[in-house]
Subunit: 461 residues, 2 copies
């Protein structure tokens, strides 16, 4: 790998100039006026994949923005890695808060400022350059590589979902390498190996058939707001445990190893609380904050509405009250099963004086790649070699639905090798990307190919 790494080191300046070119294209997926820029950005990615040495590169048009596909399958008997990323970016408003124009990449210190720098153009570009470094030095890759780079990540990845479903054979791979998450902290090599799922429900309580005057009727009729509040209070117990029958049945317990890993991160709960304006944290008893937000299921009301909510006083007993209630799920909870358990429990605790309607609004599977998975091991080893320090393992409390699609449809192991930082203003003005991390990311990607080619075999057909 010496040659490859030296090549990467000696081309640092060139990579940055090329990245700037990519960042100058205002590929905002949500704005129709940028549709031509979307085509330009896709073409840019395709050209660079070809230049890097891939022997098949194709732009697939979709109902929305194009998908860029590339492959080099010249290592028979070796595993295949699918690299996923996106070339689309968020809008730039409020434009007046940017210190430099969002599509004129500007370097200040170690950071390059531009919309899309960290999310996700800079991170996509790392992998293109790691592939290039192999071809330029070795003339080949140590394993088989496929790329799928989409233009609709910021608007829901709908067309990629359809594409995956219809092109399982084309995308077939052993691991999916994704750089669209964050390092645990600056300079700390990080593998994210688990994501939570989601079960998002709506509960509507109806009492009287019309709004009533609280003077004339108050005390004699069920009030849907009071009833709903009572029901919500029965969802989680004093110790932060969810009371829905059967809710924890399929929960994968945190292993001793994982708890040690999390503990070793020396996460400051105090600092975290301070940043969000809290003096005291809460959560499920017996777990640390990181365990709670990464690896334990939870239940939150995301919205509630009923009765009079304007200024001042109106003496009404409303007919209806509604709450949006979502549960973050962990492996191996099934959102469809949880939806049923939630509905059953709500019906059980609803008093007979009201009628209750329960609706499912959204759901998503959790995902986890075992720490013993060969792709995870290769990813961790690769980052360790690149950074020169031990890789940490984290999970992420949110969901990335497309990762689940890859994992479930392709039966491939996701490796989340994010090089961003949560402080890099993704989705906000002055988005930036640390150029040291960019360089370390190219090396990590190259080391991953090398490591994975050695430790893994292709899936049995």
């Amino acid at each position: 790998m010496k040659e490859v790494i030296e090549y990467i080191d000696s081309n640092k300046g060139k990579y940055i100039e090329e990245l700037k070119e990519f960042l100058r294209i205002p590929s905002i997926s949500t704005l129709p006026e940028n549709n031509k820029d979307m085509q330009r950005a896709a073409q840019f990615v395709a050209d660079k994949l070809k230049d890097a040495g891939l022997n098949r590169v194709e732009i697939f048009q979709t109902e929305g923005h194009p998908l860029v596909y590339g492959e080099w399958l010249g290592s028979p008997g070796k595993p295949t890695v699918l690299i996923y990323g996106h070339y689309d970016v968020q809008p730039v408003d409020p434009i007046e808060l940017w210190s430099s124009p969002p599509f004129e990449p500007t370097i200040v210190g170690d950071n390059i400022f531009a919309r899309g720098a960290t999310d996700d153009k800079g991170q996509v570009y790392m992998h293109i350059k790691s592939v290039e470094s192999f071809f330029k030095t070795k003339g080949s890759l140590p394993l088989n590589v496929k790329f799928i780079i989409e233009g609709e990540e910021e608007i829901g990845s709908n067309n990629l979902s359809i594409f995956i479903k219809n092109n399982v054979e084309l995308l077939k791979s052993d691991a999916v390498l994704i750089s669209d998450t964050a390092l645990f902290a600056p300079g700390v090599p990080t593998i994210t190996y688990g994501l939570r799922g989601l079960c998002y429900m709506e509960v509507e309580v109806t009492g009287p058939s019309r709004d009533l005057h609280s003077g004339t009727f108050g005390g004699g009729v069920p009030n849907p707001i009071n009833v709903l509040a009572k029901m919500i209070s029965q969802l989680v117990d004093k110790e932060g445990r969810i009371k829905i029958d059967g809710f924890y049945d399929d929960v994968l317990k945190l292993s001793k190893k994982e708890r040690e890993n999390f503990k070793a991160l020396k996460f400051s709960e105090k600092q975290w609380a301070k940043e969000i304006g809290l003096k005291h944290l809460t959560g499920e008893k017996g777990y640390t904050t990181l365990e709670r937000i990464w690896a334990r299921p939870t239940l939150d009301c995301n919205g509630i509405l009923g009765g009079f909510t304007g200024q001042g006083a109106k003496t009404v007993i409303p007919s209806k009250a509604t709450a949006k209630i979502s549960m973050r799920l962990v492996p191996h909870q099934d959102p469809n099963k949880i939806e049923k358990l939630f509905t059953k429990y709500i019906k059980k605790i609803a008093p007979k004086e009201v009628s209750v309607k329960v609706t499912s609004l959204h759901g998503g599977y959790p995902v986890i790649t075992p720490l013993e998975d060969k792709a995870t091991i290769a990813g961790a080893k690769a980052m360790q070699l690149a950074f020169g320090k031990k890789t940490v393992f984290m999970r992420e409390g949110g969901s990335i639905p497309i990762v689940v699609e890859f994992a479930n449809r392709l039966k491939a192991s996701p490796v989340l090798m994010g090089l961003g930082l949560n402080t890099e203003n993704l989705h906000s003005p002055n988005e930036h990307f640390n150029l040291n991390h960019f360089q370390l990311g190219i090396k990590s990607s190259a080391y991953f190919m090398d490591e994975y080619s050695m430790n893994a075999s292709p899936q049995k057909k």
Copy 2:
């Protein structure tokens, strides 16, 4: 009284024609374009009071609509009754739902249809005609009479409140006779002797200092909606009793007599529930529905708001959640004291992870006239004589703030001798007033003057 009653009977047609004239004036207090009509309506009342035989009639201009005052104090040594009512009416929208034009009084069967027919022009006019009947037959009244008829009842009675405060001597009286409520049922003579008060609060719970993503933070931070729901669930126990410390300390217990009276009304809970779309009623254990809504304090959420309440799903943990919570009070609860007890209890049950702000939005005293009060007895006797059947005693679950002002500032006993019906579409299209009740109301008013002049003495100065 034979002569007086015969006079009333023989003038039925004339009274209706005069009432029609009153109802033709579109005295909508809330619409600026009707300001001249307000003056016309006030002048109409003043003219009719003069025609009826009062010797001092005056229109007091206010910051808003005028007040009409009238008096005849020719019965020294006899008690004084103040008759209150209002000449203003509600707007007429939605106009297309009216079967006849709202300001062209139309008689169909026993009912006269027009905006203001039952609320409150028809009921005000009864008292003007009862006074007239005495002067036309006896040349004098059996006691002293004052009238105060306002033009702002439908918009809050603010200027009358100020006027009462500044004119206690002018309005001084032993009883205040008010016909602006309803009979318990058609043809059933009814005295309303108690009104509930109100303490209307707002509770705002703040968790994190900004809205958070429920994926990244869910499980590790307090959710203000969940916390607020839990707090609301702790306000009322399983038996419908309010858990605020000290809440019941000043509650006047229902007497055996009152409970018997209510029971004798043969109120159909089943029918009542059906009309508001309920299969099951709830409320404080150990009390009937009438007791609950008339004579027991209660607590209702009137509004709740927090987080995302639009269509679909948004995975947010909001910074804040707010509820409007009001308590209906009964004699002798003090809204200021209850406000303090509520605030103290809320602070007590609030978990330390959140901050809670409690605000008072509105308050009003409950009021009760003892069944033994001479004005109440006279009112009940009067209606019994007019209707030819026993008067029933009810309370009302809502508040009529001006009644409290009269009771507290003038130390006068309120007598609520309402001749309306709750089914007469007050505030809605096709408002009407039963003309038999109109005629019975004139007689009830006349009998009241006679009865009260005999059983009561004026207040000690």
